[in-house]
C-alpha cells in the first residue's frame, strides 16, 4: 500500500509538467496584450512597451516556458504580472476559503444525498422516490448562479437571516454552501439510488433476506457497502471540481476564493497566476483521486489485494 501511494505521488511530477506545458502554450496562443490589459486603455504606448519588457514578454515563448520551469523546479510558482506579488502567496491567501466552501458544500451534499438515495432505491416507484428524483433532476438542472441569486433574494433581502456575501462568520457560509452543494447532492443521490438498485437485486442480498437477517442490516451492512464504490468515485470527482469550479458561486456571493482569482487572471492574461492556480488545482485533484482510490481498498478488500 505504501509503495502504491508513493508511486502515485511521484506520478504527480509528469502531471504537473504536462499541465503547465499545456496551459502555458494555450495562454501564449490566446490573443491579447498583457501590458495593455494591466495598464488600461489610457496608458501610452511607451508604458506598454516598458511593462512588456520588464515582464519579459518580448522573449520567445520557449525561453519564457524554460524560465518558468526552472523556477517551478525550485518550488517557485512565479510572480503575478498584474500585482507583482508571489503567485503562491496570492493563491494560498485564497485557498483556505475555497477549501472551506468546497468542504462544507460536500458535507451538505453527502449528508443529505446518501440517505435520500438509499430510501429512493429501497422504496422504488413510491411517492418518496418520485419526489426525490424530481428534486434531484431539478438540482442538476438548476444553474448555480440563479439558485444563488434566488437564495439571496429570499433569505438575505426579505428574511434578512443571512448576509448576501462575504466570508466572515458561519452565517456567510450557509447560502453559498447550499448553492454549491445542491448540484452535487443531486448527482450523488442519483448515483446512490442506481447503485443501490443494482446491488439489492443481487443473489447474496436475497440469500441474506432468506436467512432472516434484519431489514436494516441487509440494507446498511450488506447492500450499502457494496454500492458505495461508484458513490465514492462520484464524491471524489465532485469534490475535485468543487475546488476549482466554484467560480459562479464565488462571484454571486463575493466569496474571495481561488476560482474568481483564476478567472480574473485569465482575463488579464496573467500567465504565471493562471499556471499557479491550475497547477495547485491539478495537485489537489490528483490527491483527492488518490484518497478515493485508497478508500476503495477499505470498502472492497478485492481492490486492496491489487495494490500490493
Amino acid at each position: 500500500m505504501h509503495k502504491y501511494v508513493i508511486k502515485r505521488l511521484i506520478m504527480l511530477i509528469p502531471v504537473v509538467i504536462g499541465v503547465s506545458f499545456l496551459v502555458f502554450f494555450i495562454m501564449s496562443l490566446a490573443p491579447g496584450d498583457t501590458a495593455r490589459t494591466i495598464l488600461g486603455e489610457d496608458a501610452p504606448i511607451e508604458a506598454i512597451e516598458a511593462l512588456n519588457e520588464e515582464l519579459g514578454l518580448n522573449d520567445p515563448v520557449l525561453i519564457r516556458y524554460g524560465r518558468y520551469m526552472v523556477g517551478l523546479a525550485h518550488g517557485d510558482l512565479g510572480t503575478s504580472y498584474k500585482s507583482g506579488r508571489s503567485v503562491f502567496t496570492e493563491v494560498m491567501s485564497r485557498f483556505p476559503d475555497t477549501l472551506k466552501l468546497a468542504f462544507w458544500g460536500m458535507i451538505f451534499a453527502v449528508v443529505l444525498s446518501i440517505p435520500i438515495g438509499i430510501i429512493s432505491a429501497t422504496k422504488q416507484y413510491s411517492l418518496i422516490d418520485s419526489v426525490s428524483m424530481v428534486f434531484a433532476l431539478l438540482g442538476v438542472a438548476t444553474p448555480n448562479f440563479w439558485l444563488g441569486l434566488m437564495l439571496i433574494i429570499g433569505f438575505s433581502l426579505h428574511l434578512r437571516w443571512f448576509p448576501s456575501g462575504g466570508s466572515e462568520g458561519w452565517k456567510a457560509l450557509v447560502l453559498p454552501v447550499i448553492t454549491l452543494g445542491t448540484g452535487c447532492m443531486a448527482n450523488i443521490t442519483r448515483t446512490t439510488r442506481s447503485s443501490m438498485l443494482e446491488v439489492i437485486r443481487q443473489d447474496y442480498i436475497r440469500t441474506a433476506k432468506a436467512k432472516g437477517v434484519g431489514y436494516r442490516s441487509v440494507i446498511y451492512k450488506h447492500a450499502l457497502k457494496n454500492a458505495l464504490i461508484p458513490v465514492v468515485t462520484v464524491i471524489g470527482l465532485q469534490f475535485g471540481s468543487l475546488l476549482g469550479g466554484a467560480v459562479l458561486t464565488e462571484a454571486v456571493f463575493s466569496w474571495p476564493g481561488v476560482g474568481t482569482y483564476l478567472v480574473n487572471s485569465i482575463k488579464a492574461k496573467d500567465t504565471p497566476a493562471v499556471l499557479g492556480c491550475v497547477i495547485i488545482f491539478s495537485i489537489c485533484f490528483s490527491i483527492v483521486n488518490l484518497c478515493v482510490d485508497i478508500l476503495y481498498a477499505y470498502i472492497d478488500p478485492r481492490i486492496k489485494s491489487k495494490y500490493k
Binding site: P31, D42, K82, P163, S164, L173, K221, A268, Y298
Partner: protein, 518 residues
C-alpha cells in the same frame, strides 16, 4: 474489516468536522469583534465596489479600485477641486520660474502616519522612483530632476516644456512616500504595499484579497477641512451586479459606487436609498478604421454620423442613464469646448451622402466590441445601417483581444469608451494623434499632421488662451471630418443609504470619501 472502516470513517468525519468548526468559529469571532467596535459609537462606512485592489503601492497600479485605497492613504503635491482647478495639497504654492523650471514650497507641519515630518527629500525620492515605474512612470516623463533646496523648498527641472506637469502631480500614481519608511521596507526585503504609509486622511488597516480592504481615520491629518468625518472605511468587493445592489438594499453597504444601470430605477424607487447622479467624463463612441476603404472617405463617415440613432443606442446599452452626445471629450473635463459640428439623425441625408461618395449600394464591414453593453449599441447601429443597405457584422471579444486586434488594425470599425482624466493632453494625444494610431489608443487610425501640431502646441504652450484655441480647433476639425460618431455621455451614478451624507462625486471617478457620515 467492517470495524476498521467504521473507525476510519468516524475518525475522518470527526476530525474534519472539528477542523471545519474551528475555522467557522474563528471567523465568527472576527465578525463579532468588528460589530462590537461599531456598537461602541464609532462610525464605519461600508462601500461596495466591483473589482478588487490590484496593488496598494501607488507606483504599482493604474486602476480606479486601487486608487480608492491609495488616494486615501497617501497625499499628492496638488489636488483638483470641484471647479476643475488645481490647488496645493502637500504643496503650499508653486511658481513657474521659466518653461522648464517650477519652484515648489511644501506646507509646514505635515506628518506621515508614523509621526515623522514630510520633507522635500521625500518628494524627490518619490518622484524619482516613480520615473522607474512601468505603470505610472510615463506620468512624470517630463521631469528631468528634482533639486532640494531645504526641507520645504524644491525645484522640478523639466526636460521639455509641459502643461501636463501640474495635472500629472494630481494623479494617484504621483503619491508621496516617506523615504525613510520605504528604504527600511526595501532593506528588510519587503514591498511598499506590505505596509502602505503616507500622509493621507486614512491609515491602512487591512486587506483581504478578493474580499475587502479597510482604512481607519488618521487623527493627525494635516488639513482640518478635509479630515475624515467617519472612523473607518471598508471597501467590499462584490463582482456580481445584482448581489451588489441587494447588499445595499439590506443594509450591508452604506454606499455603492459601481451602480448597475439596470438597478438604477429600483434604487430610485426605494425610500430608504438615494441615487446621486453626476456628470462624468465617460464618453462612448463608434469609430471606423480610416486606414481602410471606404472609411477614408469623409462623406462615408458623415453618412454614418447621420444614419445612427444615438438615442436608441443609449437606451439599449445603459438603460437611458446618460445623454446623447456630439463631442469628443466629456462635458465635465478640462479641455471641453462646445464647438463641434453636430450631425442629426437623418436617414435621407445619410443616403444622399453615401450616394455622393459612390457607395449608394452599400457595403459590408465588421465592428469589434469588447462587452455586452457595447454589443447592444452595436446592434442598434447594425439595424440603422441596414436601412442604407450597409451590412455590419458584430464581433464581440474579450477586452485584451479587442485591444490587440484593434491595435493591429484588424478591425473595420469598433465601439469603445473613454473617461477623460484631469489632463486634456491625456485624451487628445492618445486618441487623435498619428503617432498613437493603433495600440496607442487611436483606433480610428486618424492621421492629420495639423492635429498633431495643435496637440503638441496645447501641451507645451504656456499661454492659456492659445491652448484653448488649439483645443477648439482640434474639436472643430475632428467633428467636421466625422472621425468618430460620439454616441452618448454616461451619467455617473452613486447609490447610498438615504441618511448618509457627504457624498462628493468626481467627474473623473476619483471620488473622495473622507466626508461620508451619518
Amino acid at each position: 474489516m467492517r470495524k476498521v472502516l467504521c473507525t476510519i470513517l468516524a475518525g475522518v468525519m470527526t476530525a474534519s468536522l472539528l477542523a471545519g468548526c474551528g475555522g467557522g468559529g474563528s471567523d465568527q469571532g472576527n465578525s463579532t469583534k468588528g460589530s462590537s467596535g461599531e456598537a461602541g459609537g464609532s462610525q464605519a462606512i461600508n462601500i461596495g465596489i466591483n473589482t478588487d485592489v490590484s496593488s496598494l503601492d501607488p507606483h504599482n497600479h493604474n486602476d480606479t479600485a486601487s486608487s480608492y485605497a491609495t488616494r486615501h492613504i497617501y497625499s499628492n503635491l496638488v489636488r483638483l477641486t470641484d471647479n476643475n482647478e488645481f490647488v496645493g495639497d502637500l504643496a503650499e504654492k508653486w511658481e513657474f520660474v521659466d518653461d522648464m523650471t517650477v519652484e515648489f514650497t511644501l506646507k509646514e507641519g505635515v506628518k506621515f502616519h508614523d509621526g515623522t515630518a514630510l520633507t522635500a527629500e521625500d518628494v524627490k525620492y518619490s518622484l524619482e522612483s516613480q520615473k522607474e515605474s512601468p505603470k505610472v512612470g510615463h506620468l512624470v516623463s517630463m521631469i528631468e530632476s528634482v533639486e532640494v533646496k531645504d526641507d520645504t523648498h524644491f525645484i522640478i527641472h523639466m526636460n521639455t516644456p509641459s502643461n501636463a506637469l501640474i495635472s500629472s502631480l494630481n494623479h494617484s500614481g504621483c503619491a508621496i512616500y516617506s523615504k525613510a519608511h520605504v528604504e527600511k521596507l526595501l532593506a528588510d526585503g519587503k514591498k511598499i504595499e506590505d505596509e502602505p504609509m503616507g500622509t493621507g486622511p486614512y491609515k491602512f488597516e487591512n486587506w483581504t484579497p478578493g474580499a475587502s480592504f479597510t482604512l481607519v481615520k488618521n487623527p493627525d491629518y494635516f488639513d482640518p477641512e478635509r479630515a475624515a468625518q467617519n472612523d473607518k472605511l471598508t471597501f467590499k468587493v462584490i463582482p456580481e451586479d445584482s448581489a451588489r445592489t441587494i447588499a445595499l438594499e439590506n443594509g450591508e453597504l452604506d454606499l455603492l459606487i459601481d451602480v448597475p444601470f439596470t438597478d438604477a430605477g429600483k434604487i430610485r424607487d426605494n425610500d430608504k436609498l438615494a441615487l446621486d447622479e453626476y456628470t462624468s467624463t465617460h464618453v462612448e463612441y463608434f469609430t471606423v478604421n480610416q486606414s481602410k476603404a471606404p472609411f477614408d472617405n469623409v462623406k462615408v463617415r458623415q453618412a454614418l454620423s447621420h444614419a445612427i440613432n444615438k438615442g436608441d443606442a443609449l437606451i439599449a446599452s445603459i438603460n437611458g442613464e446618460g445623454k446623447v452626445f456630439d463631442n469628443y471629450i466629456g462635458e465635465a473635463a478640462i479641455g471641453y469646448y462646445d464647438v463641434v459640428t453636430k450631425y442629426d439623425y437623418d436617414v435621407e441625408k445619410a443616403k444622399a451622402l453615401l450616394e455622393e461618395a459612390g457607395y449608394g449600394d452599400g457595403f459590408t464591414f465588421n465592428c469589434y466590441v469588447s462587452n455586452a453593453k457595447r454589443a447592444n449599441s452595436a446592434t442598434v447601429i447594425q439595424a440603422n445601417l441596414a436601412e442604407l443597405g450597409i451590412t455590419m457584422n458584430i464581433e464581440q471579444m474579450e477586452a485584451s483581444t479587442f485591444y490587440e486586434k484593434t491595435g493591429n488594425s484588424e478591425h473595420d470599425s469598433c465601439i469603445a469608451g473613454w473617461v477623460a482624466n484631469a489632463e486634456p493632453d491625456n485624451t487628445y494625444r492618445p486618441l487623435f494623434t498619428s503617432g498613437n494610431a493603433g495600440a496607442g489608443g487611436n483606433r480610428s487610425f486618424y492621421k492629420n499632421p495639423e492635429i498633431d501640431k495643435l496637440v503638441d502646441d496645447a501641451a507645451t504652450n504656456s499661454d492659456k488662451a492659445a491652448v484653448q484655441k488649439d483645443y477648439e480647433t482640434i474639436l472643430k476639425t475632428l467633428s467636421d471630418e466625422a472621425v468618430w460618431v460620439p454616441l452618448y455621455a454616461q451619467t455617473g451614478l452613486i447609490a447610498r443609504n438615504a441618511d448618509l451624507k457627504g457624498v462628493n462625486p468626481s467627474p473623473i471617478q476619483m471620488h473622495d470619501f473622507y466626508a461620508l457620515h451619518y
